[in-house]
Structures are given as C-alpha cells and as structure tokens.
C-alpha cells in the first residue's frame, strides 16, 4: 500500500515537474524572442536612419561640394566655410578644455584627496554633464558674448563648447588613469621617484593613448553640438572666411538646421542639407570609431600583460 502510494506520488511529481519544465522553457523562449526581436528592430531603425541619410547625401557629395564656397545665396556651390568653421570651433574648444580637464582627472585620480572639495568637484562634473546644451548656450551668450564683449564669434562659441566637453574629457581621462596598474606607481616610488616624476614619466606616457581617446570623444561631441553655438558663434551666411577668432562663423550642424528651416528655396537647399548631414555623420562616425579602436587596443594590451 505504502509502496504503491509513493509510486503514484512520484509519478505525479515527475509529471508536474516535466510540465513545469516545458512551461518554464516556453516562457523563456517567448521572452527571449521578444527581446531579440526588439533589439534587431532598434538596431535596424537606427541603421536605417543612417543608411537613408548616407544614400541621399552620397548623390550630392563631390570634391567641389566640400572645397567650394556657397553660391547664388546658398542655393548651389559647396559648404567649405561650414566645414572650416566647425574645424576652428572644435580645435579651439579642445585646446581650452584639454588642460583643465586632464589636470582635474590627474588631481582626482592620483592625488585623490578625500575631502569636501573633491566631492564637490565630482558632483560638479556629474551635474555639468547633465546640463541641457541650450543652457550652456545661454550662459555663453550672457557671459562671453555680452559680459566679456567677445560678440558672436569663434572665441565665444569655442569657449562655450569647451564647457560642454569638459566633463567628457575629465571622466574619460580618469577612466584611462584608473586602468594603469597600481604596481607601476609603487615600483616607481620604490625607486625613489617623487609623485610628480612618477606621474610625468610613468603614468602619463602609459595613459597617453587613452587620454587621446578622451580628447577624440570631446572632438566628436563638440563637432555635433548645435544649441551651444546657436547664439554664440554660428551664422547662416558669412560673406568671407573668418579672419580672426573674433569673426562669426558658419558651422556644419548649424548649417543643416539653417538650410532646412530658414532656407528660401527648399528645392535646391534640401539636397545641400543632405550633403551637410552626410559630411557631419561621416566626421562623427570616423571620430567615434578611432576612439573606440584606440580604447580597445589599450584594453587588450593590459589584458595580455595580465593586469
């Protein structure tokens, strides 16, 4: 009796177990399929957008388009001044933010004070990276354009952009410094090198490729930002190429916006906007890929040496 009962019970148990198991597996199958589908949907939407713009832009792109001045009140010709303007803005903003950015990362990571001030620095960096870009634009307008009287100029625009990219440069440089193994510092200090000698001779040369990544990421961000230069640097049309840092400039992202919203003859200007979008996309993608490439190489280097 008892035997039969146990037997029945265990049969029941095996049955329910296997039922549950298939149930479990079906659930897993459905859930993972939904996740996979959503993932492929998202990627194909994003790739589709980029592909659409590349396809449309490729028809307009030529050497003349890139190296010629605009003609016939922006309805034909090239976009050279916009490319040059973006180059000026990006170069200056990186110069302005690289020194304080790298210094800040070194200070936080190598000297690592545990005080109120360094907490404050960290909180400021986090918040600065979340400030809406248009707010940077207003700050630049009030301080650089009006207060300091730089006017709408390359200088005002690149100073504004430099604040936008400062948190990016600080946090990626810090990340780079963190990957340098502690044993390097200890070995250098053990040989009698001072703290700064260790940083200058050992840490920085090692971290240099990753610091380059930080700067490249900053370049990519600065090249694509529109809102910060809306009131501080950019104009739709300038008669000549900028002569000094106090000239106003044309810039690629602003040019796309202006062509499509302020243009008077969309028939001719929308193709130009497609071309601009392709050039900007190309720039940003190349910049990002090179940053990713350097970082990957650096990471695998440390993975190989066993740190």
């Amino acid at each position: 009796m008892i035997n039969a009962d146990t037997y029945k019970f265990s049969i029941f148990k095996i049955l329910t177990n296997s039922l549950c198991k298939t149930n479990k597996d079906i659930k897993q199958y459905i859930a993972f399929s939904v996740i996979k589908l959503t993932f492929f949907l998202t990627v194909s939407i994003l790739v589709g957008i980029i592909g659409f713009l590349i396809f449309k832009g490729a028809r307009v792109i030529s050497l003349d388009f890139i190296f010629k001045m605009p003609e016939n009140s922006m309805t034909s010709g090239g976009i050279f001044p916009a490319i040059l303007g973006t180059f000026y803005l990006v170069t200056l903003s990186v110069i302005f933010s690289a020194i304080p950015g790298i210094a800040c990362a070194i200070y936080l990571n190598e000297y690592g004070p545990k005080g109120f001030i360094s907490t404050l620095i960290r909180i400021s960096i986090n918040n600065l990276s979340g400030v809406p870009s248009i707010v940077f634009g207003l700050f630049g307008l009030a301080i650089f354009v009006k207060q300091l009287n730089f006017g709408i100029s390359i200088l005002s625009g690149s100073l504004t952009l430099s604040i936008v990219i400062l948190p990016i440069i600080i946090s990626s440089t810090r990340e780079a410094l963190m990957t340098i193994p502690q044993s390097m510092r200890e070995a250098s200090m053990a040989l009698g090198a001072s703290k700064w000698t260790t940083i200058w001779k050992i840490i920085l040369p090692q971290a240099l490729p990753s610091i380059m990544t930080a700067i490249i990421l900053g370049i990519g961000r600065a090249a694509g930002e529109t809102a910060p230069i809306l009131f501080t640097a950019a104009v739709f049309y300038s008669r000549e190429l900028p002569k000094s840092i106090f000239s106003e400039v044309m810039a690629l992202p602003y040019h796309i916006y202006a062509l499509i919203t302020e243009g008077t003859s969309p028939q001719q200007q929308i193709p130009i906007a497609y071309g601009c979008a392709l050039v900007l996309l190309f720039l940003v993608i190349i910049i990002s890929i090179s940053a990713i490439f350097i970082r990957q190489k650096q990471r695998s280097l440390y993975a190989k040496t066993g740190h």
């Binding site: 479990k24 870009s133 207003l138 700050f139 009006k146």
Partner: protein, 298 residues
C-alpha cells in the same frame, strides 16, 4: 637643498593641478549664478507663481503674457512619448547585449551602441523633417506632421542607445556568482534574469532611465525642428507643442538684450536647469546606494 627644492616643486604642481581642477566647480557655479541673476528680473516683474501657472505664452504681444505652463506641458508630453519608446527599446538592447549575445557579438555590439549614441541630434532632427514628419502627416491625416508625437518618436529613438549603454554597464556589473547560484538552484536563464540579474542591477537601470530622461528633457534641436512650435496647452499627441528648450532656442535670437522677454527666457532655462539638476542628484544618490549594496554582498 635639492630635496627642499624638489619638495617645493611637488607642492607647486599639486596646487596648480588643484586650482585647474576647480574649473568644473567654477563653471557650474557660474552657470547657476548667471541663470539666477538673469531670471530674477522676470520673476520680480511677472511674479514667480503667475509665471509658472498662467496658461498664456505671448511674449511679443502688447501687453505680453509670460505663462510657461504650456511650455512645460509641451516638454512633458514629448518626454513621456519619448520614454515610452526609449525605455523598452533601450532595455531590450541592454539585456540582449549583456545576457544573450555571444562573446564575439558582444565585443562588436557594445562599441556599436556607443557609436550610435554619439550621432548629433541635429542629424536626427533633419531625418525627422525629411522623413518622419511627412509620414506622420500622411498616416494620421493631420494638417502638419510637426507635432508632439513626431518629436517624441525621434527623441525616443535617439535616446534608446544612451539608455541601452548605461543599463548594459549595470547588468554587466552584477557578479557572476549571483547568476551561478541561481543556475545551481535550478533556475533557467530567463528566471535568473528576472529574479536575480535585473533586481541586482535595478538601481543601475533606474539610474540610466533617470539620466536618459534628463537628456530627453534637455534636448533642444530635435524638439526645435519637429514640435511645431505652438505654445498652447496640448490636448492630444497629434497637436503641435512648444517645449521649453525649443522656446528658448527659437526666441532668444529675437528677444532684445535685457528686456522682459530676454529675462523670462533665462527664467525658463533656470527651471530647466533645476529639473535636470534634481534628476542628476537623484541618479547619483541611487547609483551610490547601488555600489554599496553590491559591494557588501560580494
């Protein structure tokens, strides 16, 4: 003597680095100070609560009205639509990359998502104008494709990679031993994901959503190009709206320096800054807690 001079050099360098690293604090303080200084005249003249609660935004009329409620409502509608899109898409991508993708796929996918999140917003806005807005206009048969839903969709697509990348990080940080323990107890992959991995990464995922929300609220170019720009209280997603960022971007060019209109745009910027500031602090608090939680249980 040489030791003394070396000590001096060391100290000098440390102080120089310290002073340079104050730049982040100085800029943030400068932004806060400037916004408050330029916003105060608007609050004084119009009245803080009247500005916040009045439904009329007619800055160029005579007499002008400076009620920013419709602008805030516009921001809210667009943000909600964007989040409805970006949260599921972003989380699905994060889960796929960190849990389902093969090792080789993962090495390629993570940088790819980062690459997608670095595409400038003006490019997305441009795509919205040439592709999505006409499509929406046709599909819903409305007079203009520039409305809340168009900018919401573009913002959602645009911020999905940001949420994906941040959430993926937090899923990745969950210690392997957590999952192994769940497998050992007989859970399958899905049960482990739902009962162990996601709860352990929950605060990181929430942080990524909060940061993504901040990005969406502060995004300017997409809403400027696609929202339609009507400063009225929205009653449906198919109506044009004028979110706060687009009002600032569209009107600052016309507003004369140091007029009430100029000050009131700074007041909007101050409110916008306050919203993102609170979101950032919230994200920081949650992620700090999360680090402690995972650290102690490891």
């Amino acid at each position: 003597m040489s030791i003394k001079s070396e000590n001096f050099r060391e100290k000098a360098i440390e102080y120089t680095l310290f002073i340079l690293s104050l730049s982040a604090i100085i800029f943030l303080a400068g932004i806060i100070f400037t916004l408050i200084k330029e916003a105060i005249p608007a609050f004084k003249e119009i009245g803080f609560f009247k500005m916040l609660l009045s439904k009329d935004w007619y800055p160029t009329y005579d007499p002008p009205d400076f009620g920013i409620l419709p602008l805030m409502a516009g921001t809210m509608v667009v943000t909600v639509i964007a989040l409805l899109i970006s949260i599921p898409l972003g989380l699905a991508c994060a889960i796929y990359i960190s849990e389902l993708a093969g090792k080789r796929e993962k090495v390629f996918l993570k940088p790819f998502i980062e690459l997608l999140s670095s595409i400038p917003s003006v490019v997305y806005g441009f795509w919205g104008i040439v592709f999505l807005a006409p499509a929406i206009q046709k599909y819903f048969d409305i007079p203009s494709g520039y409305c809340a839903i168009t900018s919401g969709i573009v913002l959602g697509i645009m911020s999905a990679p940001i949420i994906a990348s941040l959430s993926e990080d937090s899923l990745n940080y969950v210690p392997k031993s957590f999952k192994e323990a769940a497998f050992a107890l007989g859970s399958n992959k899905f049960e482990t994901l739902m009962n162990v991995t996601i709860p352990a990464a929950a605060s990181g995922i929430i942080t990524s959503i909060i940061l993504g929300t901040g990005r969406i609220i502060g995004e300017t170019m997409v809403v400027l190009m696609l929202s339609g720009g009507a400063a009225i209280m929205p009653t449906s997603a198919l109506e044009p709206v004028r979110p706060m960022t687009s009002a600032i971007a569209a009107e600052m060019g016309e507003a004369a320096f140091k007029t009430l209109h100029y000050y009131s745009l700074f007041a909007i910027a101050l409110i916008l800054f306050a919203i993102t500031f609170v979101l950032n602090m919230l994200a920081e608090k949650i992620s700090k807690k999360y680090r402690i939680k995972l650290g102690s249980s490891r």
